[in-house]
C-alpha cells in the first residue's frame, strides 16, 4: 500500500464537502509539485467566509503520520508553514482530479 491522498473542496457550510481519493496515477505528480513549492513567510490567517475557500489535501504515508495541506489564493499551508502555490498550480491540479465530484458550474468558477 503506497501513499494515499484524499482531497476535499472547502465549499459548503451545512452539507459535507465533496471529497475523493486522488488517483494513484496522479499521486507522484502531486507529490513532486509539493516538493517544488518555495517556502514563504506566512501572511495573516485568512478570514475564510461562505462559499469556496480552498482545497484540503490529507496525505497518509505507510507507517507515517497523516499530513494535512490547505491550498487557497496561491498559498499552501501545512504544519503552520506556508509555501507559494504560484498560479494556484497545485490547487488546480487537485481540483482537476475530482472534476466528477464537483457540480459543473461550481467547478468552472473555482478553477478559473
Amino acid at each position: 500500500m503506497g501513499v494515499v491522498m484524499v482531497a476535499t473542496v472547502l465549499l459548503y457550510s451545512g452539507r459535507e464537502n465533496p471529497s475523493w481519493r486522488v488517483p494513484t496515477t496522479r499521486v507522484t505528480q502531486v507529490g513532486r509539485a509539493l516538493e517544488t513549492m518555495p517556502e514563504i513567510i506566512c501572511p495573516p490567517p485568512p478570514l475564510s467566509g461562505l462559499g469556496y475557500t480552498g482545497v484540503q489535501l490529507n496525505i497518509k504515508a505507510p507507517l507515517g503520520a497523516e499530513r494535512i495541506w490547505t491550498f487557497a489564493n496561491g498559498i499552501a499551508v501545512s504544519d503552520r508553514r506556508c509555501f507559494a502555490d504560484a498560479g494556484r498550480k497545485v490547487e488546480r491540479m487537485l481540483l482537476g482530479t475530482g472534476r466528477s465530484h464537483i457540480d459543473a458550474s461550481i467547478f468552472s468558477s473555482i478553477v478559473r
Binding site: 501572511p43 461562505l50 475557500t53 489564493n73 498560479g87 478559473r112
Partner: protein, 272 residues
C-alpha cells in the same frame, strides 16, 4: 504575469497586497482609472498591478512584490472596491480593522467587528432569553472546529457529527430549499418565526440557502448581534465583507443568496 491588488492606504508602513485571479483583474482593468488618485492621508484607492511571478508569490505587502507595472487604480467605485477588499481579507492581506476603515471610507456601514472582538452597542436587542455567548475559542478548538458545522453552531450543540437538519428526528431533509430544510429542522424541534424582535425562551437562528447547493445557519448571541460557523471553518461574528451582523437577512452572505426564515431553537432540540 500575476496580477496583484494593492490597498493604497498607509503612509509609513508598506501597503497590503494580494493576488487576484485573471477574471477579476480583467473586470477591474476595464473599470479603473489610469491616473493616480490625488495625494491624501488615508484611503486612496486600490491599485491593480502586474509583477514577476517568482518575486511576488505569496507577497502580502507592496514592498514584497518587487518591480511591478501599474495598470489602473480603482477609486470611487464602491462595489468594485468592496469586492477587491473582500479578496484581500480572504487572502489574509487585509485585517478586519483595516477593512472596516476602508469600508467606512467608501460610505459603507460603520459597524465592523474584528474576529474575536466584542461588537459594539449598535447590535439590536437580544430577544432570546437563553441566547449563547459568542465564544469562538470553544468552537474553534481543533477538536471541535472540523467536525461541527453551521447547524451545530446555530443550535449551540457541538455534536461532533456535522449534524444535518432532520437527522436527529429520523428523516434528513429531502429537498435542498427553504421548505425542505426548514421542515426538517422543525421536526428536530426548531420553530419558525417572522421576526427576532420578540422576547422569548430559547434563542434565535436564521436559515439561508445557496440555491441548489447548500444551506447555512446563523444564530443570535447575547450581544444581540449574530454569528455563524461556515462548515468546518472557524466560527466568526462577521459577514463575508467583514462587517458585524445585525440582521442575517441584510448581511453579505456570499453565494447563500436566499433568505428563508428566522427560527427559534433551544437546548432541548435534537440534532445529530
Amino acid at each position: 504575469m500575476p496580477t496583484f491588488a494593492i490597498l493604497d492606504v498607509f503612509s509609513g508602513t508598506p501597503n497590503p497586497a494580494w493576488p487576484i485571479d485573471d477574471d477579476l483583474a480583467q473586470r477591474m482593468t476595464a473599470l479603473g482609472n489610469t491616473e493616480s488618485t490625488p495625494p491624501a492621508l488615508g484611503y486612496r484607492g486600490i491599485k491593480i498591478v502586474q509583477t514577476a511571478a517568482a518575486a511576488a508569490a505569496g507577497a502580502a505587502t507592496e514592498d514584497a512584490l518587487g518591480a511591478f507595472t501599474q495598470s489602473v487604480v480603482i477609486f470611487g467605485s464602491a462595489d468594485a472596491e468592496k469586492e477587491l477588499l473582500g479578496v484581500g481579507v480572504t487572502a489574509g492581506a487585509v485585517n478586519a480593522d483595516l477593512a472596516a476603515f476602508v469600508t467606512q471610507s467608501l460610505g459603507g456601514p460603520a459597524l465592523v467587528a474584528s474576529r474575536g472582538v466584542s461588537v459594539s452597542g449598535a447590535c439590536p436587542p437580544c430577544g432570546g432569553n437563553n441566547a449563547p455567548a459568542y465564544d469562538p475559542a470553544y468552537w474553534n478548538d481543533p477538536s471541535r472546529q472540523p467536525v461541527n458545522n453551521c447547524y451545530a453552531y446555530a443550535n449551540n450543540n457541538a455534536t461532533g457529527t456535522f449534524p444535518q437538519p432532520g437527522r436527529g428526528s429520523g428523516q434528513i431533509f429531502t429537498s435542498l430549499d427553504c421548505n425542505g430544510v426548514s421542515a426538517a429542522s422543525v421536526r428536530d424541534g426548531l420553530v419558525t418565526t417572522n421576526t427576532f424582535a420578540a422576547c422569548r425562551d430559547g434563542w434565535y437562528a436564521a436559515l439561508v440557502i445557496w440555491p441548489g447547493q447548500d444551506y447555512h445557519w446563523y444564530r443570535q448571541d447575547t450581544t444581540g448581534c449574530w454569528s455563524h460557523k461556515p462548515g468546518q471553518t472557524p466560527a466568526r461574528n462577521v459577514d463575508n465583507s467583514g462587517a458585524a451582523i445585525t440582521d442575517p437577512q441584510q448581511c453579505d452572505r456570499g453565494p447563500y443568496t436566499v433568505f428563508c426564515t428566522y427560527m427559534v431553537t433551544n437546548a432541548s432540540v435534537t440534532i445529530t
